[in-house]
């Protein structure tokens, strides 16, 4: 357990030592989104009945930040350690593939949740937020950040260069989060795009998290939670298998 606990602590310390960049930066970005979108589009956007657009936007921004930062943590840590070669210190140690997996993923979830709390603390001043079902919100935040931590781990294992991680982030994670209903309710989309949205796992995470605040969502929260849980189980099984085989880290 000490090996796992140390690796977990190291991964948390790694982002915490540069918190201005890893926590402060994303919080500021979310605040800018809120100001721009709420001010420029707020009057025209149509979301859930009785929910002002700014209030609708806040949980979406929180969850988007949680997901993006959880992914960034494991992916950037792993690719940095691979490229600079200091991953060898972990590989030489008597740490099992499961401990390795758990340490990287949980530290990523912690970063996602810390950033999420930061975004919530800053943006909550602008709106009157109610939290209708806090346990649902918590469940989606924890499962979502864990899932993105696993996806970051997979990307970090696969990538051999920094630009491959950047491509993963820019061409997969960013579009999937942007098109997941952070800024709009999918009810306002044409039927075809609504259907397409249901193939985006990020939609279920955002929608489910939002249910925790308003008690209203585009999809039933239990369905969303099931989609997230199954995605997490599949991604974890793949990551554990790759780690056990030493994929791209042991030759």
């Amino acid at each position: 357990m000490t090996g796992f606990a140390t690796l977990f602590a190291k991964e948390v310390l790694r982002f915490w030592k540069v918190a201005f960049q890893t926590v402060g930066g994303p919080v500021l970005a979310a605040l800018l989104y809120l100001i721009i979108f709420a001010q420029a589009l707020g009057a025209n956007a149509r979301v859930f009945d009785g929910v002002p657009y700014t209030a609708f936007l806040v949980p979406g921004l929180v969850m988007m930040s949680v997901l993006q930062n959880a992914f960034a943590n494991s992916s950037s840590s792993l690719i940095q350690s691979k490229v600079t070669g200091n991953l060898v210190f972990v590989l030489l140690a008597p740490i099992s593939h499961f401990e390795f997996f758990a340490a990287y993923v949980l530290a990523s979830a912690v970063r996602g949740l810390v950033v999420g709390l930061g975004v919530l603390a800053v943006t909550a001043w602008f709106v009157e937020l109610r939290v209708a079902a806090p346990l649902w919100a918590l469940a989606f935040a924890v499962l979502g950040s864990t899932l993105l931590g696993v996806l970051g781990l997979l990307a970090g294992l696969w990538a051999e260069k920094f630009d491959q991680i950047a491509a993963f982030q820019n061409f997969l994670i960013l579009p999937l989060t942007m098109l997941s209903g952070v800024f709009y309710s999918i009810q306002s989309l044409p039927a075809a795009w609504q259907a397409v949205s249901h193939f985006n796992p990020f939609f279920f995470m955002i929608d489910g998290f939002r249910y925790g605040f308003f008690g209203a969502s585009d999809t039933a929260p239990a369905t969303s939670l099931a989609v997230v849980a199954v995605s997490l189980a599949l991604a974890s099984a793949l990551a554990l298998r790759l780690l056990r085989n030493g994929y791209k880290i042991r030759t």
Binding site: T6, K10, L13, K17, N86, L92, P94, I95, T251
Partner: protein, 237 residues
Amino acid sequence: MREVEKRYGALRALAGVSLAVRQGEFFGLLGPNGAGKTTLISVIAGLARADAGSVAVMGADVSADYRRARRMLGVVPQELVFDPFFSVRETLRLQSGYFGIRRNDAWIDEVMHHLDLDAKADANMRSLSGGMKRRVLVAQALVHKPPVIVLDEPTAGVDVELRQDLWQFVRRLNRDGHTIVLTTHYLEEAEVQCERIAMLKAGRIVALDTTENLLASFTGPHPGDLEDVFLQLMRKH
């Protein structure tokens, strides 16, 4: 290690290597670039997996019983690698933790003292010179007091002072009972330090004997010179 084979695509990095290093020995692993020295060390350390054959460290199989095998081993990697987020002391504490040791400051202080790192204990790894980083690598390999220490070209690009300090420290560890496995391109170092030497070429052991016997068994323009023995052996095989 028994009949260890390792391939990288078409390249046969290790072509059936069998070798037994005795407990407490100062053992040298020599060979030209690409002979398989680092691959051999990687297989022992679990960084690479053998395609065939078996390796055990003090009786612990490096694959089936990897936790015990890795606790027995302290490896000083060839590359000057470090984590730029941490200080020297933090680096050593983390490495202790990876090996399951929580409160290890007394030993960490002792290792830092022997490697002349006390003054740099709280300095960030990024700020250290190459020589100092090399000392930290050695300290990292020793935090869990491993009985077997593997040094992969530890003196490559190292100045005279550090080289002498390093050898003094490693000889002391050897006297205290640690088994030392060394790879180096500096044959005079191997000649002075090692009791036994294995020479590798193209993934095979081409000579394995005591340093004394190796020096005596070859005659050339410079009798008793390990470099001469090395060159003769490499030409022959």
